[in-house]
Symmetry: C2
Amino acid sequence: MELRQLKYFVRSAELLNFTEAANDLFISQSTLSQQIKQLEDELDMLLFDRVGKRVRLTEAGNLFLTYARQSLQDANDGKQIIEDLKGLKAGTLKIGATYGLSALLNSTIVAFTKLYPQVKVAVDFGTSEDLLEKLKIAEIDFVLSFLQPPDTNVFESEILFDSKLSLIVHTSHPFASKKKIDIKELQNIHLALPAKGFNTRDFLEDVFAKNKISPVVNVELNDINMLLQLVETGNWCTVLTIASASGRTNLCTLPITGIELTRDASITWLKDAYRKKAATVFAEMIKKQVK
Amino acid sequence: MELRQLKYFVRSAELLNFTEAANDLFISQSTLSQQIKQLEDELDMLLFDRVGKRVRLTEAGNLFLTYARQSLQDANDGKQIIEDLKGLKAGTLKIGATYGLSALLNSTIVAFTKLYPQVKVAVDFGTSEDLLEKLKIAEIDFVLSFLQPPDTNVFESEILFDSKLSLIVHTSHPFASKKKIDIKELQNIHLALPAKGFNTRDFLEDVFAKNKISPVVNVELNDINMLLQLVETGNWCTVLTIASASGRTNLCTLPITGIELTRDASITWLKDAYRKKAATVFAEMIKKQVK
DNA sequence: TTGATCAATCGGTAATACCGATCATTAGTA
DNA sequence: TACTAATGATCGGTATTACCGATTGATCAA
């Protein structure tokens, strides 16, 4: 039993005339007769009652017709869902992102869902390491982070933009009026920083060690949003990329001088893996946004 | 797109290993690869993500899988309903019958539905002519009647049994004690007969004319059940086949002498048309019952 | 009776499903 | 690191079969 035969059968059942059906299907009448017969042979049951030159459905044919139609419909629906996917009218885009890029992500999501409202977007926040693990098993489509993935055999990465690490303080903070701050000055203020394991934190620790300074870290948090809310109280400062604080008008970002503290934000894909259209389109929108 | 390809795809999606899937499907791995590729080409979309020797479903593949499964399931269900039909576990048997055969029909229906409870039985009572018209357009499967169908090119008929016409009276009727009655005596009694157009009535009129008698017909009815109920009041007599009164214990049947009044009950099929299994089985049960 | 119409059938051809062999790549192992 | 087993893609060849045109036999309408 093949869809081809079901298609022939359904059209024949609708027209109850093999010659017309054959024309309609752009095949010869002999082919149609043969294929119908083949279907009947397989089912071991007559589907049409040939009485004289008349053709009508048998009870079996009538019952079978429903299922044949449905089978064809389902196959067609499957084809359609693929077309929808191509036209970004279906599917789910799964994004992995570190908190530092949430501001960028949010604005792109707004733009994307406006253009393609039928595509669902699922964002998975986490540490770079966790996200890369999920990417490895294709649980997410790509990862937005500040970490350059180590394994270039598995991953494929592209730098989106660079963002300097800066001191982030509330507008009411004494430092808010300063234009910049030297790295050495960090030693004298109370800092709230991302928890150890966070990419930015580990990077910072490395910088602190190399410059032989050891700032006081009063608070550490494994949630960047909470961290920023803490800073917004005016009691703490933190060090994050400028991108992290974008969109929060009551925070000031002070460039840290005395050392190069640039971090590269990148998008990371699974190497050689199929990229769904929604993912490539979304990635392009991000790139445009940061230009 | 063919069911074959959907079958290959579904199994491959389940095992996520082309070699195993090919073995499972009893085809070579090369064939499987080719068929999957062909399906992907037709959809213009990758269904599997080949990463190294690993194979996993793409989003499109995952979405398509549901529809592929459903399509296969529907085709299979269609096959199953045909099997059910063969095993008399589905379908509807449509019987046309004249009232004179309702008693026989009832007992056969009881026996049939006991054996095949999943087969629906629809009985269409009517005049022989109406029923043969319905048979002609295959609205019913066969006709049970006392009429020999005229057109042997269209119909195919078989005699089931013969039933003599007899005078039917209530047990309280003066004639109830008689053993038989001569046709001439009919002239002197009040008769309730089937309406003109009813086969038995037309046959009777013919007999009356040939024997030059003209009985008094007080009542004529186009419903045999009503007619018999009328006879059961004791005020009228009627003439019907013995079979018509079977099952009604308060009625007596008096053979009519002086002339041969035998009627042949027959089953009539559409010539050369497909006969559904339920119909042939039911017909056989009727034949056994009248033996 | 005749001609038109319809489905079945036949023989031949083109398309293709299928196979085995081979290659390229990868994952696991010594 | 090198080796091996496993896996999917590809190639060339073969067997199958979907397809066609022509014909036949039957039916229906004029």
